[in-house]
Symmetry: C2
Subunit: 820 residues, 2 copies
């Protein structure tokens, strides 16, 4: 194994102090001279015809500079299949539909103007569940398809399907089969920094937009298209990304509010800022896609999985964003977690009059993992096998291509499962390791004097893309490496630091690859004008691709530096020969030039010092980086060191017909487990301990990596126990953090044992895999399994709330009583 200088260290993040101290500039902090404040009038109907919009009173309000609607602006189509519009005409299909917007000199005036806009609607019947939406007589939400032809159903034309083997025959052959329904709710990404942007045009009608995005370059394409739609031919956009207060997938698409601020900025000739408040962030951004899953799994007598049949229905909401593509990632674990020969996966995505959905960390995996990993425990129980053992039997192994075509190279699933079992003291946690799990009446630890609390343990595993995931034709990341003659290195990257530790990973990787100390490295991101192209920061790809790119660029830079060093060191050699000549007059100084004596590969650089590999201890053949660079810079017709690289991982787009393809250049696996205590009187689930073991390939910065896992666990536990975006007929009922409960630091008051398995993946930068998303994937089923272990009740619908537990406990009691 390579000995690293910096990789694997536990070091603070460069961006942390400014963020902790409130010094970092978020979009909320930005203001420009003459800036106007934009605000959006949202629909207050789930499904209705727009009869008339009266903006006259708003227009007359002093301080209002523009009022726009879909009727007085060019049509801008948005979203993954362009079934959405920046401003709506004719009808609204969800409560958050944008029907008008204003720009005013002051945010309060803008709010007042919005109130003054009167919209006359004619209500239409709404549908608020996929089941209802799929009925034959259901109201049709989109009257035409993407080609303008009449549409008669509510099915979103984005089908995902993967089949291998024959699940029907396998079902007949299986010794144990378990079939179940699971659901996951809408949840909000809950970024601390709400969404927003400031759009501005220069007087040549080119757009500058500062906006919260994870995809500056793809967003630039969308904005360029909008400029075309606005009739601004040949005009271009520049996207600048401010400090992000979390993004978690919200920044993976462009949003109506961005196009509205563009329209307002163009109309007023002024910068226009739109920042969503917390309520708007809840109601007008796109949450995680909710799912209904029908799952069947079966195994043979020895516990070997032989079939998995998953049919998912996704509530798309009224329009289509990247939520509709989450099945492409659901297929990854559905087809490939554990070794299973017969798989059927199919998703149906359905328009409803609910809020439309899009990406969130994990991108579909948490939804399907909830069903699969809960069902794994059910199947283990049916087969009479310990759930840990059952997983170990079926675990993924290295160097195997799954039926979907995923090339699993390194794979530490065995180590992850064993680590979690060990950390949780799996066999003895209940004190009764020989007892059958899932039987609350016997397998509980009685806490206190009365049996008011029951304790249980559960685990779950994960399988996810770990080497980027190709969802666009390019999956690349560029790097420009600029080294000044003081040896200070600027890494210019198109990636996005959204709180995950991207800058830190990139700085460490550059220091390591180049051979300089970390303090020499500064990261610059977030401007399409100066940064090299990057497909965006998603799919756990940020550090993976950008660190690979910086390694490539660093190698080029080292080569150039070593060429310059050759020239420089030649002087030392010559002076040494002169010395020899003085000592020994017979010594002939040969006529040498540096190119014949030195080859760049003779040199190495460590901690900003360049030396000859063969004579690392010869002080004459040592030089500081800045010494070499300054000499090269200061000679007549000198040079500076700037290198670039573009890394596009060796992975594939899925074949749309077969659903097959090696989507990621490597895969990440992991396991998590929890010990929980269920209060039998209140139904409350308390976490006593969590263990998480992840095959990360190689730790880059141990501190940020832990941060990734801790943060993901908080989200995963929220998904398991408390987070739910509640709606009534399409209207959100809990648009704030009092009624929508995310875990904060005080809620995380239990031991967390984190273990990183380093499998040293050959495609990864220094062996590392992408770790951004998977930390929250197995959390909810691990907890669900622990709850089952504690009380013998399997909650199928997330979140596992006290009321669901109390209802189930009451049912259990009644059943038990009736059995007596």
């Amino acid at each position: 194994m390579t000995q690293f200088n910096f990789i694997g260290a536990e070091v603070p993040r460069p961006d942390a102090p400014d963020k902790a101290a409130g010094k970092a500039m978020y979009i909320h902090d930005m203001a420009f001279p003459g800036m106007l404040y934009g605000k959006i009038k949202f629909s207050d109907r789930a499904h209705a015809v727009i009869k008339h919009i009266d903006t006259s009173r708003a227009e007359k309000l002093p301080g209002v500079r523009a009022v726009i609607t879909g009727y007085n602006t060019p049509e801008i189509r948005i979203g993954f299949i362009k079934d959405n519009f920046a401003l709506k005409r004719d009808k609204v299909r969800q409560f958050r539909d944008e029907v008008a917007a204003v720009a005013a000199t002051d945010p309060d005036i803008a709010a007042e103007a919005i109130d003054l806009i009167r919209v006359e609607y004619e209500d239409l019947p709404g549908v608020f569940s996929p089941t209802d939406a799929m009925r034959e007589d259901a109201p049709v939400i989109h009257e035409t398809d993407l080609k303008g032809r009449p549409k008669t159903d509510n099915i979103v034309p984005v089908p995902w399907k993967f089949v291998t083997g024959d699940v029907e025959r396998a079902r007949e052959e299986a010794d144990y089969v378990v079939e179940e329904y699971y659901t996951t709710p809408l949840i909000q990404q809950s970024c601390m920094g709400t969404a927003g942007c400031i759009a501005e045009f220069d007087l040549q009608s080119n757009l500058i937009i500062r906006t919260k995005t994870q995809i500056p370059f793809l967003a630039q394409n969308d904005f360029n298209q909008a400029l075309k739609d606005m009739g601004l031919k040949g005009k271009k956009s520049r996207v600048i990304v401010p400090t992000l207060g979390g993004s978690f997938g919200t920044g993976l698409d462009t949003h109506s509010y961005e196009f509205i601020s563009i329209l307002l900025a163009y109309k007023t000739g002024r910068p226009v800022k739109i920042v969503l408040n917390r309520e708007e962030e809840f109601t007008a951004l796109s949450p995680r896609q909710p799912t209904e899953t029908h799952i069947v799994q079966g195994c043979d007598r020895d516990g070997k999985l032989i079939l998995r049949d998953i049919r998912m229905v996704l509530d798309n909401g009224a329009y289509t964003s990247w939520g509709a593509t989450t099945p492409s990632v659901m297929m990854v674990p559905a087809s490939s977690i554990y070794r299973v020969p017969n798989v059927f996966f199919k998703s149906t995505i359905v328009y409803t009059n609910n809020t439309y959905c899009q990406a969130m960390r994990g991108y579909g995996n948490p939804q399907v993992a909830w069903a699969m990993e809960s069902n794994m425990d059910q199947l283990a129980e049916a087969a009479g096998i310990d759930p840990f053992e059952f997983r170990r039997i079926n675990r993924n192994i290295p160097n195997e291509t799954t039926p979907m075509g995923l090339k699993v190279s390194t794979c530490g699933m065995k180590e992850c499962l064993e680590s979690v079992a060990e950390k949780l003291d799996w066999k003895s946690i209940c004190g009764k390791s020989d007892l059958k799990r899932g039987s609350a009446s016997v397998c509980t630890t009685l806490v206190g004097s009365t049996p008011a609390k029951a304790r249980g343990v559960g685990m779950a595993a994960l399988f996810h893309v770990g080497g980027s995931g190709r969802v666009y034709r390019s999956d690349g990341s560029g790097i420009i490496l600029k080294i000044d003659d003081f040896g200070d290195v600027t890494v210019v990257s198109g990636g996005v630091e959204m709180g995950q530790g991207f800058d830190s990973a990139l700085a460490l990787a550059t220091a390591e690859a180049l051979g300089v100390t970390q303090d020499r490295v500064k990261i610059v991101t977030g401007d399409t004008a100066t940064c090299p192209w990057d497909v965006g920061t998603h799919a756990s790809r940020g550090a993976f691709t950008s660190c690979n790119a910086t390694i490539m660029a660093s190698e080029k830079a080292r080569k150039k530096i070593f060429e310059l060093a050759s020239e420089h060191f030649m002087r030392s050699v010559k002076s040494r020969m002169k010395k020899m000549k003085r000592k020994d007059p017979d010594f002939e100084i040969p006529d040498l030039d540096y190119e014949t004596i030195f080859d760049p590969s003779d040199f190495d650089m460590k901690e900003n010092r360049i030396f000859l590999k063969l004579e690392p201890d010869d002080p004459d053949l040592h030089a500081a980086l800045e010494e070499i660079l300054r000499a090269a810079h200061y000679k007549e017709q000198g040079t500076m060191v700037i290198e670039e690289a573009f890394y596009d991982p060796p992975n594939q787009m899925l074949d749309p017909r077969t659903g097959r393809g090696n989507m990621s250049s490597t895969y990440i696996v992991g396991a998590q487990g929890a010990v929980v205590e269920v209060d039998l009187e209140t139904g409350k689930v308390e976490i006593l301990k969590v263990a998480a073991a992840h095959d990360v390939g190689q730790v880059l910065n141990r501190q940020t990596l832990k941060g990734q896992i801790y943060g993901a666990l908080a989200q995963g536990i929220g998904y398991a126990l408390s987070e739910e975006y509640k709606t009534h007929e399409g209207r959100n009922l809990n648009p704030n953090f009092l009624d929508y409960k995310i875990l904060s630091a005080p809620d995380m008051n239990f031991p967390i044992e984190v273990d990183f398995i380093e499998t040293n993946d050959k495609t990864g930068p220094f062996g590392a895999k992408g770790v951004g998303e998977p930390g929250l994937v197995p959390t909810a089923p691990a907890i669900g399994n622990a709850v089952y272990d504690a009380i013998g009740i399997r909650i199928r619908d997330l979140p596992i709330t006290p009321d669901k537990i109390l209802v189930a406990l009451e049912e259990q009691r009644q059943k038990r009583d009736s059995n007596k």
Copy 2:
């Protein structure tokens, strides 16, 4: 001659609309959350000991966040020889000396706090002219030299001297010799946008400073040194340049106000903005170095110059900035304009208690040109030769190395002189071409019924660096060229657009060199983090070096694009072969790959289209740039086109012992002439017409080039007739544009004939030379010579004001009367 597509066109500047409409963001427009306003307490004495500074009342003022002096902050030395301090201790040496500063929440509070600071001084005798300062008993302004040893005189230790031949002997041999004294005044650069900066620290103590500078990378070095001085080891600065409202040399050095804002920002932990108001801009920035010149020139009977002896005394003011190095550029024309074998040049730079000086457009050349070109007319008159003829006799010629070692390659001086003479109708302008010039009594045109106005014509020539001027060890400019897969090109440059048209030149040059249309090219400058290193924009070098760099980078990019095109076009070739095969089954499709068929040099690109040079009309062998780039990007493990280049011109540092060296890679020459009318009763000089002919090598953008010349003429005429920074015992008397008269558009209400001589210099980008400065160099002597032509009076001290003319006319009248 090459046929250009864009070079030489007359096109609007990309930065013009936003500037014209007030949309561009100057430092004045910028604000950041929590920003404080800094203000400086300047000395109100010219020379005094600081006895005590009482800041207690200022500190107590609500809203004041910091009060600093030289006594409670680290010492930061600044300036060319580090004889200056950001904040003064012990004594003040000029009125503008910074003795204290505050940061407050509001600019008014900051101003009030400054008023509350009490400084107790003990006055010292001051010296306000070099003559006084060089007296033996003069008060010594700097008590110690740079090494801390006692200093007993006021001579600035920056001597400049150049000698060739033997002027003493030549003087004896000359047929005509004329000796004269000339002076030039202090003048202010008069930027429309006053100076200012906003300094801010991140919480790792790295500095971000937005500041008005022409030298972002050299300023970065100065700021990094200041961080070291402040004890912030290893901390670095990032310099961001806002839109500049003119700079003209003011941005060539770092300033006390910048370091003061840094100190205040560090102390308060907040962004601190210091912007000079107009009065402060006049009194606290560094104007153009004033000079006293003793000149002797001599020629032989045929009018051939045989000697030039120039001894200059420069009033340095109290400290040393880049004004003290202007003699290095004075030496260029002093040694090399016209062909003169014996030259003596020496400058003495003297400390006084006046304001210290620094660079201004032309960098010493206007001062020495005033003396030389006025004196040329005197010598011509002495020799009885027409001044135009006299200049033509002595003109510089191509392909000659001057005694200073300046390699004059191309040289259009003959064409420039002839153009001006023709445009001014030189021989007949007075209607009496046979009359001896300089005799007001005869050679005047009588205007009106009484001889109240006299008309005259004059000309002058110039010689200046035109291919950058190496004053630092690196004279380089870097370029990063980033081409996205829509074929949009971003040019990232370390140069500075300060109003001169840099962006426009660079955009045109890139479009031309790359083969794309101009609308595809965007320029990004002004950030040391993302831009490649550049020595700064000065010495008329901006377009010269950066366009050369973009040509280099474009060539690399074309090579890469053509390699990608080879692969792309191979598909066309293959499909064609398949067609042939279908027609003729005997045809054997050879097994070819693109590398064997195409070479990058087979391709060309024009207006965003790539084609085969040999078959430019074959539609199958044509492709849009974006088509090639997108194919390259979208293939698995694709690529993007980013190229960089660093151009360091083939020029030399001057040898400090001999004053010799080929400072610039090419030289620019030119001539200007004016027709003036002198009101004999008021003494007012009115310009009737101006002609300017410049050897520009090659026109890049004719519109911006004209702008350069028009602007320079306005400054040159101001230097000639109206601009004077008036002082009394070191205190400025006219710190505003009412009392300090620059020419504005209505003052330029006369015909200006501009002629560009294109000599196509081989080192220039497309043949172009640097044109930023020289437009103002010969203007004042041309006008002085015209005034002499009109009234027979030679004003030796700029500016040529009505009162000086009236006094001289009165003397002339008295002399004439006494001769009667």
